[in-house]
Symmetry: C2
Subunit: 202 residues, 2 copies
DNA sequence: CTATTTATTTACCGTTCGGTATTTAATACT
DNA sequence: AGTATTAAATACCGAACGGTAAATAAATAG
């Protein structure tokens, strides 16, 4: 049985593709941040009327969370991929190089939405702000685990505290995002990464 | 002639100190960002009525710029101070150590207002966003100049591109700001700085 | 052909936004 | 004492905000 000939649902069919709409919403949230993106601008970008957005995704907060999920599992999926590299150095290398290429890519908004989505915010968006900080902390913790694993396999110097080194790499990573948002190019970011990797601890 | 017995101005005297008011406004903009800070919240924090703010400082944008000037010449004046250290290494060392202590200081909002004031923004605040990016770029350029000077005095390896190294330091610096905003402590930031300084090029 | 279901469209809601006109109070000058 | 000057306080403005009720259109099920 072919999926393309599935029985169509009961009522009036949606005139827009939900996944495509989320992609369009991503571009707005990415450039504007959670609060900077107004429902009016989102409505324009999605090309559908406002009640349709609410019917399909819930309110602004719910829409943002759905967009976030797409963002994490899509554009930045290279992060968890990097952690699976055979050595710790290769893992960090891939993480930073792919990040430089991603953050400075002119084909989509510059910088990382996890950083610029809601670094600060007005009253009422603190929850989103905390959630984004939580995702960032999550990546940092995953990197710590990766380095602890490497350390236990003699792949990372035992003199270095994995949590501290992970925070150092995360700091560079987030700094690269700020740089990209302010206009840094892929090449400039790669030069930064090169300086970081040049001094890999041994 | 004593300044304390200066002739008082003509009309009804101001009931609030303008500089103190700017300090209070700074705390709001620092935590909320330019757009996240509402005039209502600013009014509450300053303890004066809204028309008084407009009469004293102009509109929200003008108020923010006056606050910015105080911020640059006050809390973060250590940056230009650091550049005057005798050697390049001492300059960067002081820059990063003082930054760690400043960004993680729990006595005022965490992070740097130059970074979190308007990393992203809605329509209408792009000018402020660009101005903040300009200030960040200004610091980076000043650091580049400092390293070029050091290079010409055999105080910095001639194999390293000063602009690239300055961007690396600026990237770490801005990353530290993001980390601080998300809750990183002074001690954690100092550990990051220690890792950066451990690999000073020679 | 009718009923049911679902989506789109239009028009609108109350709240908050940044900003101000107007009135009232406090001081100095004459 | 009266007037000019300056600031504070009250009350308000239009616009933009996120969000929704009600009506209409397009499909399936019987």
């Amino acid at each position: 049985m072919n999926v393309t000939e599935m029985k169509r649902p009961r009522g009036r069919p949606s005139v827009f593709d939900h996944e495509e709409a989320l992609d369009k919403a991503l571009l707005v949230f990415w450039t504007r941040g959670y609060e900077g993106a107004s429902m009016a601008e989102l409505t324009d970008a999605l090309g559908i009327n406002r009640p349709s957005i609410y019917a399909a995704f819930g309110n602004k907060e719910a829409l943002f969370r759905k967009v976030m999920r797409k963002y994490l599992s899509g554009p930045v999926s290279y992060v968890s991929e990097a952690f699976q590299q055979p050595t710790a150095k290769q893992a960090v290398e891939m993480l930073l190089i792919k990040s430089a290429e991603f953050l400075g890519n002119p084909d989509h908004p510059k910088g990382c939405m996890l950083v610029q989505g809601a670094l600060t915010c007005g009253q009422g968006a603190e929850l989103i702000q905390q959630e984004l900080a939580g995702f960032r902390k999550g990546y940092e913790n995953a990197l710590t685990k990766r380095l602890e694993f490497a350390q236990s396999h003699h792949d990372f110097p035992k003199e270095i505290n994995p949590a501290e080194f992970a925070k150092y790499i995360a700091t560079v990573h987030q700094g690269m995002s700020v740089q990209a948002t302010s206009g840094a190019t892929k090449e400039e970011l790669l030069a930064v990464v090169s300086l970081v990797l040049k001094n890999w601890p041994r």
